[in-house]
């Protein structure tokens, strides 16, 4: 069959909502785009453990400590499913990790911001996991089967994280004067970076058209961002706090909230590696990997010895 026919067949499947599976024929660019996106997503889960893990030792109550430990552990689990999903496309976890460490692969820029107070843990759960959910709910219907299925599991946990984050802030918002200030300050610092999580504007986004055609993405960056703003603008009323945007206003005609302009300079600076924590995050991951090398080697050597002994016994 000529390649055009394969491509037609492939596009027909996508148009008919049939999932693409690992052994199916797929255009090389589709494979590459999925590897890039899924591995980037996996890296984000793993790097995302760092800013929150930062507060485990200092969590303000035993209950909060337990919840935070469980949350960060969930994120590690998400990383694991996602690496497995990406591996079905023919790249090993180790290769992906090397690409992260060399700077070749990216992860979500949001994790390059520091967690300065306990309220940041609430703000991350509410805003960052909240923004992630917008994207991930869409991805439960993405065209690549293993990615879509991983997302179904992950989404359940993410919405739990978002509620827990909101609840942290709710308690602070009803607490002492110092706690209220802490709460508002965290919202002020995390709001704009959370909006940036949806990526460049549609008019500037390079990969969007093809991804939409292949149904890797099903909503544009701007649509998702708008949905997020609409959701948070309502939820924040319960907290009695403010979003740091003078232009935020309900638009009855559009039936959406209008909002101000994102600082795109900052966005691109962080993408380029100049965010407040880019350097520390990557160093922490590299260090964990390097310090773990002898452990991985020992585990492999022991597994090999065992296998050899088994063989000797059998012989």
């Amino acid at each position: 069959m000529p390649v055009q026919d394969f491509e037609q067949l492939f596009q027909d499947k996508i148009d008919n909502e049939v999932k693409i599976e690992p052994k199916d024929w797929m255009p090389e660019a589709y494979r590459k785009t999925n590897i890039r996106q899924i591995s980037q997503h996996a890296h984000s889960e793993i790097v995302g453990m760092l800013p929150e893990g930062n507060w485990i030792s200092r969590a303000p109550s035993l209950k909060r400590k337990a919840i935070l430990l469980a949350k960060v552990q969930d994120e590690a689990g998400h990383g694991l499913y996602l690496y497995s999903a990406a591996e079905t496309l023919g790249m090993s976890r180790e290769e992906m990790i090397n690409d992260l460490h060399s700077g070749k692969a990216k992860y979500s820029s949001i994790f390059n911001y520091p967690t300065l107070t306990w309220a940041d843990i609430g703000a991350i759960g509410w805003l960052v996991d909240g923004a992630a959910i917008m994207n991930q709910v869409m991805l439960t219907r993405t065209s690549y089967g293993p990615y879509a299925r991983a997302m179904v599991r992950i989404c359940k946990e993410e919405s739990f994280h978002q509620r827990q984050g909101f609840e942290i802030l709710l308690v602070l918002s009803r607490g002492t004067a110092a706690q209220k200030i802490m709460c508002q300050d965290a919202i002020n610092r995390w709001w704009w970076p959370a909006l940036m999580m949806f990526g460049p504007k549609d008019s500037e986004s390079t990969n969007s058209d093809q991804s939409m055609k292949w149904k890797i993405k099903r909503k544009t960056n701007d649509e998702l961002r708008q949905n997020f703003v609409d959701m948070i603008a309502e939820q924040i009323k319960t907290l009695g706090m403010k979003l740091p945007d003078d232009q935020l206003k309900w638009n009855a005609e559009r039936k959406h909230y209008d909002f101000g302009e994102i600082n795109w300079d900052e966005f691109w600076q962080v993408v380029k590696g100049n965010g407040p924590c880019n350097k520390q995050r990557l160093e922490a991951r590299r260090k964990a990997w390097e310090n773990g090398e002898w452990v991985r080697e020992a585990a492999a050597a022991y597994a090999q010895k065992r296998a050899d002994r088994q063989k000797d016994k059998a012989a």
Partner: protein, 252 residues
């Protein structure tokens, strides 16, 4: 009257909390993702056990002192006692240093906790017995997991073997204290010296498979159970208690 029981319950709680706190330092920094998850999971189990014991200790304190004083809670007990009041064994406060020391610390402790909880299940105090029974499944897993890692590292590469020897050299001296009963343990009717031989048998069995030597009798450090700790504990508590100390009388 029930003072010894309060102290004993706090001792059990402190052991679990401090080791949970130590293990949590690995979260996000583990040698491989699966083990990052495993050690975090153990940490979570231990924090859970600590909470059960602290809640019970708070209840006991309520029964024993006059109600007008500040009410004890799981959090006041974990966050507002000082380093001289903590009753955990020295072993659990020792630093992570590397994966070998973390594994060995866990193995020594889980081996002990497994035997202890089996005993405690039969204790006259039904609350302690219930917590022990509930936790035993977790501890069984911790013991299996850490035993497997001791073997893997001991019988892995030359480097991992060497690191295990180093870990034994660091930690063996903290294993004696575990089996020397403090007053409150005796009064609670749990004498850990009774199951020291079983503990040692397990060590021998696992070390043997790991091709590691069991140390000869050496001098044993002690003091943790009665509040005389190594210098590490103060720093652990500084971090652990920071928010509650900085923002007193707040809800979180």
């Amino acid at each position: 009257m029930t003072n010894y029981l309060i102290d004993y319950t706090l001792h059990l709680a402190d052991n679990a909390l401090i080791l949970g706190q130590r293990n949590a330092e690995w979260c996000g920094h583990g040698p491989v993702l699966e083990q990052d998850i495993a050690i975090t999971n153990i940490s979570l189990d231990l924090v859970g056990q600590a909470r059960n014991f602290y809640q019970y200790a708070a209840e006991l304190i309520h029964q024993s002192v006059d109600k007008s004083t500040h009410p004890a809670t799981e959090d006041s007990l974990a966050y507002l006692r000082t380093e001289r009041e903590f009753k955990n064994c020295l072993l659990v406060e020792q630093p992570n240093t590397d994966w070998a020391q973390t594994i060995l610390r866990q193995f020594f402790f889980s081996n002990y906790q497994f035997l202890l909880y089996q005993e405690l299940q039969k204790n006259n105090d039904t609350q302690l017995a219930a917590i022990a029974e509930k936790s035993l499944k977790e501890v069984t897993y911790h013991l299996r997991w850490s035993s497997e890692w001791v073997i893997r590292l001991g019988d892995g590469t030359a480097e991992s073997h060497q690191r295990m020897l180093q870990a034994i050299d660091e930690l063996w001296r903290y294993t004696g204290e575990i089996f020397t009963a403090a007053d409150y343990e005796e009064e609670a009717g749990v004498d850990p010296s009774l199951f020291q031989p079983q503990w040692l048998n397990k060590v021998k069995e696992v070390f043997d498979e790991a091709t590691l030597p069991v140390p000869e009798k050496t001098f044993m450090q002690s003091g943790g159970k009665t509040g005389t700790h190594t210098e590490h504990l103060g720093f652990i508590l500084t971090e652990l208690q920071y928010i509650q100390r900085a923002y007193p009388d707040s809800q979180w």
